[in-house]
Amino acid sequence: MALDAFAPWEDPNADPIIHFQNVTKRFGDFTAIDDLTIDIYEKEFFALLGPSGCGKTTLMRMLAGFETPTEGTILLQGQNIAPVPPNKRAVNMMFQSYALFPHLSVWENIAFGLKRDGMAKNDINDRVDEMLRLTRLETFARRKPHQISGGQRQRVALARSLAKHPKLLLLDEPLGALDKKLRQETQFELMDIQEKTGTTFVIVTHDQEEAMTVASRVAVMDHGKIIQVATPDAIYETPNSTYVADFIGDVNLIEGKATSKDNDKLSIAWAEGQPEIVGTPTTEFGNGQTVHFAIRPEKVAISAEKPEAANALQGKILDIAYLGNISTYHVELAGGQVIKAQTANNRRLSRRTFTWEDNVWLSFTDTAGVLLER
């Protein structure tokens, strides 16, 4: 790649635009956000990912000003924003329901925030036209929200929240209401707009694919805590826990005990009568310590003959999930464990090598999987 990678989080001198310092938020007895510390940098596309009820929406609403932290501070460009009401923050939000004003036209919706700032009429016209061009809505300016499609409404909501040049744009499940195909298109559009405007985006989503597609960094949350913050590829390839490994994509999780060490390789005893799995640990494991071995299905190869590989296991095909571009094989081992293996269907279906009940070999290299403590 010729471009310099965008990674301000690796620069110790970079100042974050948003800094959460030991933030806790409680609703009665319920702790929505639990002692959370995180930095978000300028021009980032930051995704908050987690199951519903994990606190990601609460985190976003605290940024918008609709909730205040019970403990801890949130700094926006070094300023504590707790006492600043939502209407005085240089932060705008795109609501999950879009929250377009039904009595106002598309044009008036976009101009709404600008008018509140007392902007001159000509400037408002220019800015609204610019936003309409950016979101390709020029021909719909005079329509009311109920007269346009869901995808167009989504773009109006985006234009309205971007119109005021916010330092930070919050997107609450912005694509949740769109169908799959439109959602994928819109994801790229969002990235494009984020790049063009240079605004810092924080997106809340429960769709891991969406988070992986759009974000520069992804924070995986669970029960009010951030489990891991990393780039999409790091989250996928080097998850720090079985929770993250399991939440992002498909994974085989095998629990075992560390036995012997040979140079930088670790052997794991995991089942009676099965060969030990050899992996490459990134952290220290003591002898006899519990190890969770996580391996992605696409890193498990499937073959008829015993292959030359660091790890090879024999089993029988239990199930085949044909997804068009790929097929996932569920292979049952002698001990009853089921391992998933994925192959790309780069040949037509009629030429497929394996079918149900076939005896096959599964294999993977000693660096294909991740060894996790928890």
Partner: protein, 296 residues
């Protein structure tokens, strides 16, 4: 055929209970007052056949309508009714909107109870409720007793038999008709719209003016018509609570019918009142239509 029957039922209903009585009233308005039973001439006598019918028609005239323009009592009464109806509608809106707003913002589990409380007065006869206001507002009434015992006033206030008492009575009686449509409009209001307005730089107050009020506009219009239309022809409240100076067309109508026994003039008054009411009723219908279209 079945469809035709279904459509026919409401039309027959309207024809029998609205159009026919209206034609009878209209006919009486064109007649002359007489000392007879019924107290007007001519009456239609079909025994004389076609000749009798033409003789009957020739005796009808618009004299009574002309009379309404000649005596200034009538147009003054119409104007005064209009004024009282407009002021009462505005007062009811001022009192009703905050109540509806509070109900719509109340916790979900309370709303049914609050709604019940608004409708509750309907369980008592309207007449009894208006009478009880006489007991409250009279010079020795509960209100004056309370204010005097608190030492706020030394002389009893004269409220009963004034326009003030009429306004109190109307606002009290028609309040539910204002609250219910506004409540139903506000209840549908999406909370996130207000958050969005705040997020875009509105204070709570401007968000209320720019979002809440326009979005409850249909409810405000519906409620205002539901109060204005019956108030314009109101008779019971001004005659029980109002004084001799309270001039309302409903009262004039009653006096023409029962005190003067001048049915033709009374009928003419009623016909004009109906024509005046047709305008707001049509506007109301159009508002309802627009609302349905906006929702559909």
């Amino acid at each position: 055929m079945r469809r035709l029957t279904l459509i026919a039922i409401p039309y027959v209903w309207l024809l029998a209970l609205f159009l026919v009585p209206f034609l009878i009233v209209f006919k009486i308005a064109l007649s002359d007052s007489a000392l007879a039973i019924p107290p007007y001439v001519p009456t239609l006598d079909l025994s004389e056949g076609w000749a009798g019918f033409t003789a009957f028609l020739s005796e009808l005239d618009f004299e009574n309508f002309v009379w309404l323009t000649e005596d200034d009592l009538y147009w003054k009464a119409y104007l005064s009714s209009l004024k009282i109806a407009v002021i009462s509608t505005v007062l009811t809106l001022i009192v009703g909107y905050p109540i509806a707003y509070g109900m719509a913002r109340a916790p979900q589990e309370w709303r049914a109870t609050l709604l019940m409380l608004v409708i509750l007065p309907f369980w008592t006869s309207f007449l009894i409720r208006v009478y009880s206001w006489m007991g409250i507002l009279s010079q020795e009434g509960y209100l004056n007793q309370l204010l005097m015992s608190l030492g706020l006033i030394s002389e009893p206030l004269i409220i009963l038999n004034t326009n003030t008492a009429v306004y109190i009575g109307i606002v009290y009686t028609y309040l539910p008709f204002m609250i219910l449509p506004i409540y139903s409009a506000l209840e549908k209001l999406d909370e996130s719209l207000l958050e969005a307005a705040e997020d875009l730089g509105c204070s709570r107050f401007t968000a209320f003016w720019l979002v809440t009020v326009p979005l409850s506009k249909q409810g405000i219009i519906a409620g205002s018509f539901l109060v204005f239309i019956p108030t314009l022809g109101e008779f019971v409240i001004p005659s029980l609570l109002g004084g001799s100076k309270t001039l309302m067309i409903g009262k004039v109508l009653w006096e023409e019918f029962f005190s003067n026994r001048d049915w033709p003039v009374a009928s003419a008054v009623a016909v004009i009142l109906l024509l005046i009411l047709v305008i707001p009723i049509i506007l109301f219908q159009r508002n309802e239509q627009k609302q349905r279209e906006a929702e559909g």
